[in-house]
């Protein structure tokens, strides 16, 4: 479904990605692990057109989307839940959800109702401004907003960051449900244990390079991963 080969991304003089290659097939959950500053967020930003690579190619459904602009990605079926949630602070919860369906025509009220079913707390807060939600509320809103465009590929950047344990559980459960409903998920997480338990495959990134990849089950028991990302062998 998605294929990235040798992508290089620069921030001015700094090269953040030094030629990364990976792929995501339809229907999987693929997770990308890595320390702070490894380049995970940068990878996701590249995949949604926010930061075009200076070299390499990205293909989605066989189409070259390397130079496609950010605003065209939703129409292609890719939806991005950005790091830090990025809720529209002065729009109500409901308006934020409407924004998620910006490119769609026709009625969206049904979808909104469905999101309220999945995230009941959002229904309670529907009229409240996004900027005044707590962190967890915002994270749920961000995911719900991304789902409003009926994406086929969902990019998630650290969805569990700053969330209470129960909510983290819920979010991971929902990610599983999203996949079961037919949406492919590309997941970036610090919470490696839970991410790997949910995922089918995983990539490990260090300093702007993919250093190895395997199925999630194997990574969970891989000593290198256990040492660094599961924090065990200390």
């Amino acid at each position: 479904m998605l294929e990235v080969s040798n992508a290089v991304v620069r921030y001015g003089a700094i090269e953040a990605l030094h030629g990364v290659s990976f792929e995501v097939s339809a229907g999987e959950i693929v997770t990308l692990l890595g320390a702070n500053g490894a380049g995970k967020t940068t990878t996701l930003r590249m995949l949604s057109g926010l930061h075009a690579p200076v070299a390499g190619t990205i293909t989605f459904d066989g189409r070259d989307v390397t130079r496609t602009k950010a605003h065209q990605f939703t129409s292609l079926g890719i939806s991005h839940v950005p790091e830090g949630r990025r809720i529209f602070p002065q729009m109500s919860v409901e308006e934020n959800l409407e924004m998620g369906a910006f490119r769609r025509r026709g009625s969206i009220s049904e979808d909104i109702d469905r999101m309220y079913e999945t995230f009941p707390i959002l229904k309670e807060r529907r009229k409240q401004l996004g900027g005044n939600l707590s962190g967890g509320e915002q994270q749920m809103l961000a995911i719900a907003r991304a789902l409003m465009s009926h994406p086929r590929l969902l990019l998630l950047d650290e969805p569990s960051m700053g969330l209470a344990p129960m909510i983290v559980e819920a979010i991971f459960r929902i990610i599983g449900e999203i996949r079961d409903a037919g949406t492919t998920v590309f997941l970036v997480e610090q919470n490696a244990a839970q991410a790997l338990r949910l995922a089918d495959r995983g990539y490990v990134m260090e300093n702007g390079r993919i250093v190895f990849t395997d199925t999630a089950d194997k990574l969970l028991v891989d000593p290198r991963v256990r040492a660094v990302y599961l924090g065990e062998a200390v």
């Binding site: 320390a35 702070n36 707590s134 967890g136 129960m166 490696a192 660094v228």
Partner: protein, 267 residues
């Protein structure tokens, strides 16, 4: 001495229009302890911090702070910078460093903010100014050492990695020579091995610097390892208070926050 209260929060209520962020919250924090506040998202933890530091003004209740001088003062109605000068330092949920300044300068600003302004002194640089400046420099270097950022002292703060930024924030807060440090989710967005380092650092702050710690954190492993006492907030109210063991076993807390699968404490 052990039981002296740094913060005594009595029945505060904080409202934003219709939303009640804090509802009749009472809390006692003793000098020298590491106290944690946990609770679901939106429970009011950050609001509590903001009330303690003068950023928000609760409509009801009282907050008494025992200042460095030993005097008790009421925090409500006081501006944030005043509260800071009374020995309360904090970090923010989303890190707020001065990106265009160097790591060193960030800490130095913290170190010198409590001196009088003295335009003339600042310009003329008499011996007192220079002496003060040397003191600030020494403190800043010392603190950078303490949090392990000495080697990055002259880098732009914006070029630091996420984890380093959090350390920088702690160093900067410590530079104000606080008696109590409020940490708002210091471990969010760090990986497990970094979390371990952070745990050590926070403990060191208390043990070596004698600074009391008030901690908000969702990572139960870190909280349970550090905190000596916990308060649990839910919907703006305190639903439980006690030692880690007590909290872990508290039914209400499990239901509202920890979730069934949480007893293992991993996350």
């Amino acid at each position: 001495m052990i039981d002296e209260l740094i913060f005594n929060v009595e029945n505060i209520t904080l409202r934003f229009g219709g939303v009640v962020s804090l509802n009749n919250v009472s809390l006692e924090m003793r000098r020298g302890e590491i106290l944690a506040v946990i609770g679901p998202n939106g429970a009011g933890k950050t609001s509590l911090f903001n009330s303690l530091t003068g950023v928000y003004q609760p409509q009801e209740g009282r907050i008494t702070l025992s200042a460095k001088s030993g005097r008790s003062v009421s925090v409500i109605g006081m501006k944030a910078h005043r509260v800071s000068s009374l020995g309360v330092a904090r970090t923010f949920q989303a890190s707020r460093i001065f990106g265009a300044l160097t790591t060193f300068e960030n800490v130095k600003i913290g170190a010198e903010s409590h001196r009088g302004i003295g335009i003339a002194g600042a310009m003329v640089r008499g011996p007192r100014t220079r002496h003060g400046e040397r003191e600030s420099d020494e403190l800043a270097v010392d603190l950078l050492d303490f949090v392990g950022l000495r080697s990055k002292a002259n880098l732009l703060a914006s070029s630091l990695s996420y984890g380093d930024r959090r350390r920088l924030e702690i160093a900067r807060a410590l530079a104000t020579r606080p008696q109590v440090l409020l940490l708002d989710e210091p471990a969010a967005g760090t990986n497990p091995s970094e979390k371990l380092e952070l745990t050590e650092l926070i403990r060191k702050v208390r043990d070596e610097r004698g600074v009391s710690i008030l901690l908000i954190e969702h990572d139960m492993k870190l909280v349970m390892a550090l905190a000596e006492r916990l308060y649990v907030l839910n919907f703006g109210s305190v639903i439980a208070e006690g030692t880690p063991e007590e909290i872990r076993a508290n039914e209400a807390v499990i239901e509202a926050y920890l979730g069934a699968a949480s007893t293992a404490g991993d996350s």
